[in-house]
């Protein structure tokens, strides 16, 4: 490790001397031929229209070039040409698995720009929905990861079975299963009924049982251990330098969770821990997701206990036609995939002058080649799966 950022200086290096296969990315007459395989954009395991051009020596990857942009939808430019409110449903489509937390990040940025305050109940609701989204995202991710590992959909369908319950709650609250469009500048759109809160609480109370069963199915499985431990190691110094965030970074042992660092929303009121991995491999990334789900359950049960009554919307907040004063704002949250940030630059008009998303999926993807080199093609899809990308967010 060269010189880690001061914030992470306390982290002892979990890695000794660099080990594992050293790979030469050469292609000349002395080293035989490399087989160049184009995986994607139509490939079952690239999680959407992502493409990896892998050069293989036998089954070993000696070069891997990620190609993206197939799902580019001009998100940022569209947002610069519509009102602040009208961008909110578009943020649903960024990371379409976690629209609730993406909404929050955008709302946070606009609220910062407007100087808008948020009532307590809405703050609690935001935490509740964001943590539920985290659970949804992580359980889906683990399911997809196991699909990449070659199960016949079983863990994925178990995860989907549970996810469905969360999604149903989202639907009955916001009207839509995935494109929730729930947060507003200054609060939330709909107030949940007491029945809704009770149902959500029951769901959360039962969720650890599912997690236990899930772990019994997967965590100790010898094949799973052999397929994931030591695969796709990510050095913490490299991860920090590359701007990796979220569970991928924490799996490498770097203690960086924006919920703790920024304590945005009401996160400072909740008691939760941040799990850290020591090896930075695929197994750690998988286990961190499981552990974070358990922490989310803890946060959620506290939130259900403490949620106050009251308005969910600041009565002074404007409904539409927002015209923030000229200025800029950057707001970030700890999304399920990592640091999700929105940067807004206002010139006083009804549209943002500049709108920029910091998508965790894209930035976490940048070290894909480094993680894959020296591993086999079978591992590359697993490593990609463990990074947890959503192409809607990568390509925007």
């Amino acid at each position: 490790m060269n010189s880690p950022a001061p914030a992470f200086a306390s982290v002892p290096s979990p890695f000794g001397a660099p080990s594992g296969p050293t790979v030469r990315a050469v292609h000349d007459q002395f080293h035989g031929d490399l087989l160049e395989v184009s995986m994607g954009p139509q490939h079952p395991s690239t999680h959407g229209v992502f493409r990896m051009i892998a050069s293989l020596d036998g089954e070993q990857i000696v070069k891997l070039k990620p190609v993206f942009g197939y799902l580019h939808r001009n998100h940022e430019k569209i947002a610069e040409n519509t009102s602040y409110l009208a961008s909110m449903p578009y943020t649903d489509r960024l990371d379409y698995l976690c629209s609730m937390s993406t909404n929050w990040a955008y709302a946070l940025a606009v609220e910062k720009l407007l100087g808008q305050s948020v009532p307590d109940r809405a703050q609690y609701l935001r935490v509740i929905l964001a943590e539920m989204t985290r659970i949804v995202n992580h359980s889906c991710l683990v399911g997809f990861l196991f699909n990449d590992l070659g199960t016949s959909f079983t863990p994925l369908l178990y995860a989907f079975r549970e996810r469905e319950k969360f999604i149903d709650l989202f639907e009955s609250l916001s009207g839509s299963r995935m494109m929730c469009n729930y947060q507003r500048f200054g609060g939330c759109r709909v107030d949940p009924t007491p029945e809704w809160l009770a149902a959500a609480r029951t769901l959360i109370e039962n969720f650890p049982r599912f997690l236990d069963e899930y772990e019994r199915l997967l965590t100790g499985n010898e094949i799973m251990l052999a397929r994931t431990q030591g695969i796709g190691r990510l050095d913490p110094a490299r991860a920090v330098n590359a701007g990796i965030t979220g569970p991928v970074l924490r799996a490498s042992g770097v203690d960086y969770d924006i919920r703790k660092v920024d304590a945005y929303g009401f996160y400072s009121r909740f008691d939760f821990r941040v799990p850290l991995g020591d090896h930075g491999d695929t197994y750690d990334r998988y286990m961190l997701r499981i552990l974070e789900m358990r922490e989310s359950v803890k946060i959620l049960s506290q939130a259900f206990r403490d949620i106050p009554a009251g308005p969910i919307m600041d009565p002074k907040a404007k409904q539409r036609g927002h015209r923030p004063k000229a200025g800029e704002a950057y707001a970030r949250i700890e999304g399920p995939k990592g640091e999700l940030g929105f940067y807004l630059l206002s010139d006083g008009g009804p549209n943002p002058y500049r709108y920029r998303v910091r998508p965790p999926s894209l930035i976490n993807l940048t070290l894909l080649e480094e993680m894959c080199l020296g591993h086999t093609i079978a591992d590359s899809v697993v490593i990609l799966g463990s990074i947890d990308i959503v192409l809607g967010e990568v390509d925007r």
Partner: protein, 216 residues
Amino acid sequence: MLGSGIIKGLAVTAKNFLGSYHDPARMVTVEYPEQPTVLPEAYRNFPFLISEDAADPMGTLRCVSCQICEKECPPQCIVIEKSKDKKPDATGKPQLYPLTFNIDISVCMSCQICVEVCPFDAIKMDKVFEVAVTNRFDGLLLTRDQLAKPNSYYHDIHPAEAAEVDERLAAERKAAEEKAKAAAAAKAAAAAAKATPTPKPSDGPTEASAKGGTAA
């Protein structure tokens, strides 16, 4: 011992296999066309226009063609053409009405922003989701006539919300009537007392209270 994790996993799948026969929590499949899905009340799909009277939908549209929804619609799937003349609305007040009101639901992303910004409670979200048609251009372009649905339909699909809206509208109308009455009385009194100019009937308060209402 090598293999114990695998055996544990096999036990879990076996449990789920058996559970799928007796445990409804493990068997969540709904056989859709035979078993209709129960949609939550908040469910939203595509917008429709509310008319007061099912017998004369075009005559009693609540929409006054203010074009706020057209402006706010994120994917800009709404096209409105204002009328030149005014027709009396449900309260008898003359209002503009939409000559054209088209929603291209192949573009619409069901975000509900049009509903939120409408000051007249004229556009609401429908629950119809089986909208497959054979022509994806004209078939998915809904016109004014296709969009207009009576208020009773709104009550059917979103009972609680519709009741709230109706209550609010009734209160507003009452307030407006009282105000108009008061104004008329005042005018009469004023006319009786002095020949002063009539105060202009204003729709400002209606709009303001409607705005407050949509937040709920």
